[in-house]
């Protein structure tokens, strides 16, 4: 897992393969989770990984709605998705998700999950995001608001079995 306080890497400059805008309303969390999980599935992740990636995005959105926008329901959140692959025409090796908002700037160094041994309601979101994603980078957007870059590699256990190409008798 990467150092979550870093301000690099730069956000991807290529056109996202998927980009959605939602209003900062909890009612849209469910549909967003379904989109994220379905996209991750198409990029080669197994069901467990798809659920975890959707959970990480859900937690990030919850934090923006609750803390970034103070539960205001008329604000925007943008979610962009790229496959991780090199070269670009290769099979996807993972997923990169960038979540952006227009909320107040927060020092990325100050975004820390709470001590997991401290059992209390709340404060689990950042811990969960860091736990399930390979790369977690919080940045301040120059134009205002925050950017969260999430990446996760497909592992060998995620790989789907090779389709059976034998001709049935």
């Amino acid at each position: 897992m990467s150092d979550t306080s870093q301000t690099h890497p730069a956000p991807p400059t290529t056109t996202p393969h998927v980009r959605v805008q939602i209003l900062s309303q909890p009612r849209y969390l469910s549909g967003t989770r379904e989109l994220i999980a379905a996209t991750a599935r198409r990029l080669g992740f197994d069901e467990t990984a798809c659920s975890q990636i959707a959970l990480a995005v859900d937690e990030a959105l919850c934090n923006i709605i609750r803390h970034g926008y103070d539960k205001a329901e008329d604000q925007h959140i943008w979610i962009s998705i790229w496959p991780l692959n090199e070269p670009p025409d290769a099979e996807p090796e993972g997923i990169r998700i960038v979540i952006e908002d227009n909320a107040k700037h927060i020092d990325p160094e100050a975004i820390k999950g709470r001590d997991i041994e401290d059992i209390k309601p709340g404060g689990l979101g950042v811990y969960i995001i860091r736990n399930v994603m390979d790369e977690v980078v919080f940045q301040q957007r120059p134009e205002g608001g925050m950017r969260l870059i999430l990446s996760k590699q497909v592992t060998t256990t995620d790989q789907k079995p090779t389709p059976d190409t034998t001709t049935p008798n």
């Binding site: 909890p26 009612r27 969390l29 469910s30 989770r33 467990t48 659920s51 975890q52 959970l55 859900d58 937690e59 919850c62 709605i65 609750r66 997991i116 059992i119 209390k120 309601p121 709340g122 689990l124 979101g125 811990y127 969960i128 736990n131 399930v132």
Partner: protein, 109 residues
């Protein structure tokens, strides 16, 4: 979200249906608080019909656990689906809560 309730012989069972995320966690929190006010000997949260839970839902159950400890109510979670169990494991709360496979187990846990 629908939350079925059954209060019998000092055992209060809450059975929510549907995803428990930020949009509905408050409803579950209110129902749990109201149930806890009856000071049941045992509180069972049956999660059989909950396919998904995020940290908002988990926080609600952590609060329930804290209330239960203060008033000596036995809190038991049962029938947890794999995706829901996953978040408890990630947050290492599976070792803090009493989690059992069935409602029958919950009645005797």
């Amino acid at each position: 979200m629908e939350i079925a309730k059954n209060n019998q012989d000092g055992c209060f069972t809450l059975s929510p249906s549907g995803d428990v995320d930020l949009s509905v966690a408050r409803s579950l929190q209110m129902e749990i608080r109201a149930a806890m006010e009856t000071k049941p000997v045992r509180m069972i949260v049956d999660l059989e019909k909950v396919p998904y839970m995020d940290s908002s839902g988990v926080a609600t159950l952590v609060e329930a656990m804290q209330i239960a400890r203060k008033q000596n109510t036995t809190l038991v979670l049962c029938c947890m689906q794999d995706k829901v169990r996953s978040i408890f494991e990630i947050a290492r709360l599976d070792r803090i809560f009493t989690i059992v496979p069935t409602t029958e187990d919950a009645a005797g846990a």
